[in-house]
């Protein structure tokens, strides 16, 4: 039954892809078919994976493709099903949103091709999460990369877009190379390509190979997940693609890297040596911190969100790292807690990052710019979008009572409990990581004050912003759905954690949701001996009561006594948008405090008319330096290109030289023959 549902979902996506490609001459029809099929397929997949998580035994299906050498086999075990659930939940909403979002493009762009690749992306994602042998996994993996590439470079007439797409595909392919090596090392050991033959295999290998495979997998998947320092493609590629695609990219595509790591760390490895966990934890902290720090300096709304994806991937990796370390320390329960925290955050991030990107999409479509400095005051023109975006911002900043808070709280609990698990110096890593997580969260909050306030609040900063209009109904519906998702995942945490039982059972042989839920499902506890508890539902309840009992009546009473007046403008008549605090100004203190990292450059050009004290116009520009791009990748690229150019001398055009190559080779080989 589940198998049929899953397969039908796949088939619907396939049909949608083909149909919309066939309809490329009728944009409207193509759009409806593409989005409709995507939506239907997602719903089918949603039910299938929801059922599959709790099904007694994994569901194995073999697809009728390939050739005698390679089989295209998929298996839905709880882990796959969970990620599939994330995918389907997000994809359904995004497809709904796309109905309205794509309408703008009708006639201007080839929606048939878009629909094709869009459905193909969903299809390949589902297959990545469920592929059950190394070969097919890589095929799905690359198809996913390919369709993402085509969607990223959908607006390929812009050079920035082209470069971003190419950079993405090249880096992703390099990562695939690492994966290929790692998988084949395992295959050589097990003699089969099937994932089931890799189960706990890696831990049985000699330490050196074990470490090599681990690192290969970590970086191979890390490229896709966008961990520092392999992240450089992410802030380029996510902003330039259409916003519904960005939502998918940030929401789920980068999660394939997380899925791969989960699969490797908790399925292929039994009890890994502790250094592995340490490495992952360290990378997680670095990604989280750098991601948010760069996000703070960003004034391109979508780029800012892209940087935050790096940050959240870092938070997820902290959970993984902790889980690995706990496993090495033999703390199955704590490992479970950390794993749950990571997986929970994965789902949450899919929700609120999807929501934020959809919101950004509506804003960009309304204002025709991605630059926050040109927006402002949108909360009046786009109230629904604003509300949804606000909820997303609160959620991603990890503030109660929404879902981001719950998963970050679980992460804290795991890190906190870690201190007691060992006497060695490594225990210090846990609290340090915890405090840096706190810093990250606080900076994220600061960043989202900016990201919400500058575009949505105060006065519009440009004409486009002034006459922006609210998004179309389907788009609103999509955003609203995700907002509701964020709220429910926050308040219903105690219900949702039960989902993890089968996964942790499969991965670690522990299922703890009963220990996590307290006070009849009112409160959530880390399940450690006497850890603290939280009850997001309780908080929300109190807020509601208080609001209903005091806020509303009093507010109504006070409104009678209130008048509206102008803002205090220091006596200078008339407050205009020019007086407003800009995003650049908002992030200035942090730019100065972290200048060691940013190396900011500023240019000020002022034009004077009368005296130098009264400039008629001032142009202020402030740039920061992206360290990795400038210090690591730039030089690397130049080196390689220089080397290649030098090697071109081999083909210098002289036939005598060409003959000489052959001659020398011949002599050498002859001597080799005689000697050997």
């Amino acid at each position: 039954m589940i198998a049929e549902l899953f397969l039908s979902g796949i088939i619907v996506w396939l049909m949608g892809a083909m149909a919309s490609l066939a309809l490329w001459r009728e944009p409207a029809a193509a759009r409806r078919v593409a989005c409709g099929a995507a939506l239907a397929g997602s719903l089918l997949d949603l039910t299938a994976s929801a059922a599959a998580i709790f099904s007694a035994s994994p569901i194995a299906i073999s697809l009728p493709f390939g050739n005698p050498v390679f089989t295209w086999a998929v298996r839905l075990d709880p882990l796959s099903a969970y990620f599939n659930l994330t995918l389907a939940a997000l994809a359904a909403v995004v497809s709904l949103y796309s109905f309205g979002y794509l309408k703008e493009m009708e006639g201007r762009r080839n929606l048939g091709a878009f629909g094709f690749f869009y459905n193909l992306l969903l299809l390949s994602l589902a297959l990545v999460f469920t592929a059950s042998n190394a070969f097919f996994f890589l095929v799905a993996w690359e198809v996913m990369a390919l369709s993402s590439f085509c969607l990223i470079s959908f607006e390929h007439e812009k050079e920035k877009t082209r470069n971003a797409g190419v950079l993405f595909l090249i880096m992703s392919h390099a990562g695939t190379g690492l994966l290929l090596i790692a998988f084949l090392m395992l295959t050589t050991a097990s003699g089969s390509l099937d994932f089931s033959s890799f189960h706990l295999l890696a831990s049985r290998m000699p330490p050196l190979e074990q470490g090599a495979i681990f690192l290969l997998f970590l970086f191979g998947f890390g490229v896709k997940a966008g961990i520092v320092p392999l992240h450089i493609w992410l802030p380029e590629a996510h902003p330039v693609s259409p916003s519904n695609v960005s939502a998918l990219m940030s929401g789920i595509v980068i999660k394939t890297g997380i899925y791969g790591m989960a699969r490797v760390f908790f399925d292929f490895y039994g009890t890994p040596p502790i250094w592995m966990g340490t490495v992952v934890l360290g990378l997680g902290v670095a990604s989280a911190l750098l991601g948010v720090l760069y996000a703070l300096m960003e004034h391109d709304l979508k780029r800012l969100l892209a940087w935050h994806s790096i940050e959240n991937i870092g938070i997820i990796l902290m959970g993984f790292g902790a889980a690995l370390m706990f496993r090495a320390l033999g703390q199955a329960n704590l490992a479970t807690l950390a794993l749950i925290a990571a997986l929970y955050h994965t789902f949450n991030h899919a929700m609120f990052k999807g929501l934020l990107f959809l919101g950004a999409g509506s804003v960009v479509q309304a204002t025709h710019t991605r630059n926050m400095e040109k927006m402002g005051g949108l909360i009046r023109r786009m109230p629904v979008t604003a509300l949804c975006f606000l909820l997303g911002a609160v959620a991603i900043s990890g503030l109660p009572p929404l879902n981001g808070f719950v998963s970050e709280w679980l992460t804290y609990q795991a890190l906190l409990a870690g201190f007691g698990t060992t006497q060695s110096l490594t225990r210090l890593m846990f609290p340090i990581a915890g405090s840096l997580l706190a810093l990250t969260a606080a900076l994220a909050a600061a960043c989202f004050v900016k990201a919400f306030a500058i575009p949505f609040l105060a006065l519009p900063r440009s004409n486009e912003a002034a006459d922006a209009h609210e998004a179309s109904p389907t788009m609103q519906a999509g955003m609203a759905a995700l907002a509701v998702g964020c709220v429910t995942l926050g308040l219903g945490a105690t219900l949702f954690v039960r989902v993890f039982d089968p996964i942790t059972q499969q991965a670690l042989g522990v299922s703890t949701s009963s220990a996590l839920v307290m006070a009849h499902g009112l409160a959530l506890s880390p399940g450690t001996i006497h850890g603290g508890t939280i009850s997001t539902a309780g908080m929300a309840l109190l807020f509601l009561i208080a609001g209903a009992a005091f806020a509303l009546p009093l507010a109504r009473r006070w409104r009678r006594r209130s008048v509206t007046g102008p803002v205090w403008d220091c006596g200078l008549p008339g407050l205009t948008a020019d007086n407003e605090y800009t995003a650049t100004a908002f992030s200035k203190p942090l730019r100065m405090i972290f200048s060691a990292l940013y190396r900011p450059r500023r240019e000020i050009q002022a034009e004077y008319e009368v005296s130098p004290h009264y400039p008629s116009a001032i142009r202020f520009e402030s740039k920061i330096e992206l360290t990795f791009e400038k210090r690591l990748y730039g030089p690397l690229r130049e080196r390689i290109m220089a080397l290649a150019n030098r090697m071109k001398g081999i083909q210098a055009g002289s036939i005598n030289v060409y003959l000489a190559y052959i001659f020398i080779t011949l002599i050498l080989l002859l001597l080799f023959v005689v000697r050997g």
Binding site: L428, S435, A445, A446, V449, G532, S535, A546, V567, L575
Partner: protein
């Protein structure tokens, strides 16, 4: 079962009243002491109550550029602060709403309030508001890791982030705070408290010079009842943090439960300790001058170092 719930309810209401009642008092006391230290006569310690009363009865001016965020913020700030206040042990080790969240929840609830306060600062479009929000978010972000380290140290001692557990573990061993780890953590948390409550040398609560003010700049556009709410919330937040500090590190007189005469004794102890801490704060405020904004990170770096020292010393001793 129901008995428990009712018990919790009573505790909560009691603590709620306590919070609302003595929060302005603490502010008042601090102001008065400060005046005395500066050999001014200064306002009486009940001045804050008068201010609130007056403000609540005034009308108010809503900026025409403001959106519903501006109106919603005071409520959210107030409620989240009060809710945080109900999660900490004040009189009894048993925090009334301990079930709803521990120390992390407290911090994040305060964070929620700050988030919306900053939004409202930017909502009006006045550049003062933006200035205030930007500085507030920056400083609080930098304060966060130090606070978290200190709290971790304490929580590790108690093996829990539940304040009930922490305080409970502290009960009885009244001189525990002499342990190096505790002292470092205390120092760290104290510095954070100064930063969070916007006191000299980080911020100056009673000035309206745009160069120096942070918190005041954010709420510059508020007037009447909403200003009252925000100010009240600010003083409650200050009370909460102070209580957190003293009851975690210095649990003398902390009662096991709210019921019985112990409660009164507990309240007395609480007030005494608050008074002591206020004196300390006043001392600090008077002997220091407000530092430049870009010196604040150094202060918080010190706090962070103290926090990590605390950790390491728990690790050593």
């Amino acid at each position: 079962m129901t008995g428990q719930i009712i018990g919790r309810l009573i505790e909560s209401i009691a603590q709620l009243c306590l919070l609302l009642a003595i929060a302005p008092l603490v502010t008042g006391v601090i102001r008065a002491l400060k005046a005395r230290m500066q050999t001014r006569r200064g306002p009486g310690i009940l001045q804050p109550y008068r201010d609130l009363y007056k403000l609540f009865r005034k009308g108010m001016v809503i900026p025409e550029t403001a959106s519903w965020i501006f109106v919603a913020t005071p409520w959210i700030v107030f409620f989240s602060t009060v809710l945080a206040g109900l999660m900490i042990p004040m009189v009894a080790a048993e925090a009334p709403l301990g079930l709803f969240g521990g120390v992390l929840a407290v911090i994040y609830l305060l964070g929620l309030g700050r988030f919306f306060l900053a939004l409202s600062g930017l909502d009006t479009g006045s550049s003062f508001g933006g200035l205030g929000s930007s500085r507030e978010m920056t400083i609080s972000a930098l304060a966060e890791p130090a606070m978290m380290l200190a709290i971790f140290t304490v929580a590790i001692g108690a093996g829990s982030t539940s304040l009930t557990q922490i305080a409970g573990a502290a009960i009885g061993q009244n001189w525990r705070f002499l342990a190096p780890a505790q002292m470092f953590a205390f120092a760290a948390l104290a510095l954070v408290l100064i930063a969070e409550t916007g006191r000299i040398p980080v911020d100056n609560p009673d000035t309206h010079l745009e160069l120096t003010m942070i918190h005041e700049a954010m709420i510059l556009e508020y007037s009447g009842p909403y200003l009252a709410l925000v100010e009240w919330a600010a003083s409650i937040k200050q009370l909460v943090l102070m209580t957190l500090l003293i009851n975690c590190f210095w649990p003398i007189g902390l009662q096991p439960t709210w019921f019985g005469f112990g409660a009164l004794q507990g309240i007395a102890w609480l007030l005494a300790k608050l008074l002591f801490l206020s004196c300390a704060i006043v001392l600090i405020e008077t002997v220091n001058a407000k530092t430049r904004l870009f010196r604040v990170p150094e202060l918080l770096a010190v706090a962070f170092t103290l926090g990590s020292l605390a950790l390491i010393s728990t690790f050593l001793f």
